[in-house]
Symmetry: C2
Subunit: 159 residues, 2 copies
Amino acid sequence: MGKLEFSLDQIDYQILRIMQENARTNNADIARELGMAPSAILERVKKLEQKQVILQYNAKINPDALDQKLLSFIFIKAQDPIGTQKVGLLLAKIPEVQEVHDIAGDDGYLIKVRTNDAAGLVDLMRNALGKIQEIISTRTTIVLETVKEEQKLVIPTED
Amino acid sequence: MGKLEFSLDQIDYQILRIMQENARTNNADIARELGMAPSAILERVKKLEQKQVILQYNAKINPDALDQKLLSFIFIKAQDPIGTQKVGLLLAKIPEVQEVHDIAGDDGYLIKVRTNDAAGLVDLMRNALGKIQEIISTRTTIVLETVKEEQKLVIPTED
DNA sequence: AATATATACAGAATAATATTCTTTTAATAT
DNA sequence: ATATTAAAAGAATATTATTCTGTATATATT
């Protein structure tokens, strides 16, 4: 068969490690750090992008700077037609919703939402969520303080 | 007093919008897109970094490519000395733990964890979490499928 | 109002990088 | 053995980043 094949070597891992730390590290610097030619690194990076190992490069913006002070997680119980994720896709369309996960157990979703404040959250629930008929109930968890928030993956080492 | 002052204008927002889409967009391209000189854009980007509006640039790596197929959220009930977040800091040190949020309600944390598989999760709970004495109980939610996972913020428009 | 002071930006010059192409080497297949 | 492929070095050129200078505009000071 052959679904998706990655097959990364140690050099790829090192590139990923560097990119994960600072996605704007330039080619020449990566090359220097790994003791290789820039052209070789360029090829590898392009290949990593093509193979969808690197999905995208994003800037992490301070939510406070955009006055988005409230982070919440909401469990959503919904009656999706079996096997579909209609509700999930609708939820994903809401800009304030950063994550939508289909979770095991009581046929539901867990979503992560960022709003200006409590009023913004109420708004979102009333308007955006309110429009989705299939939603049966919700349970909201408010975040008081975030201690860590990264999406860095653990990259294997050679041993 | 004066905590942190941001104060961003429309041009800053546009830069953030571009950077949020692709953090490797180069200076010259941003300048072209906004119809400004590269030197002006460079100044602004540096200022955004200094002011901690842009916190970092990261590459989003495909978890599957690193064989990290299991995503879980774990609610952790813990008895932290009041006002401290000792447990939170200990949790944050675990590499597989991508997020640690101090949540309202039953003095607990919500963490987001990525492991290879169920065995990896069990391992982590037994070893890493097991070592933290203050943890009273945990409740784990397994993600079956992720519909959306971004950290893009909603950037204000001028109207 | 007149004069400083600071800020944002353009434009030009130069340093550094990206990108492309060619060649070599090594690994793998035939 | 002999192709074939993949990875990478190295060189040449196209693009960018970066620094510096000058100018306009706003903001403050007296």
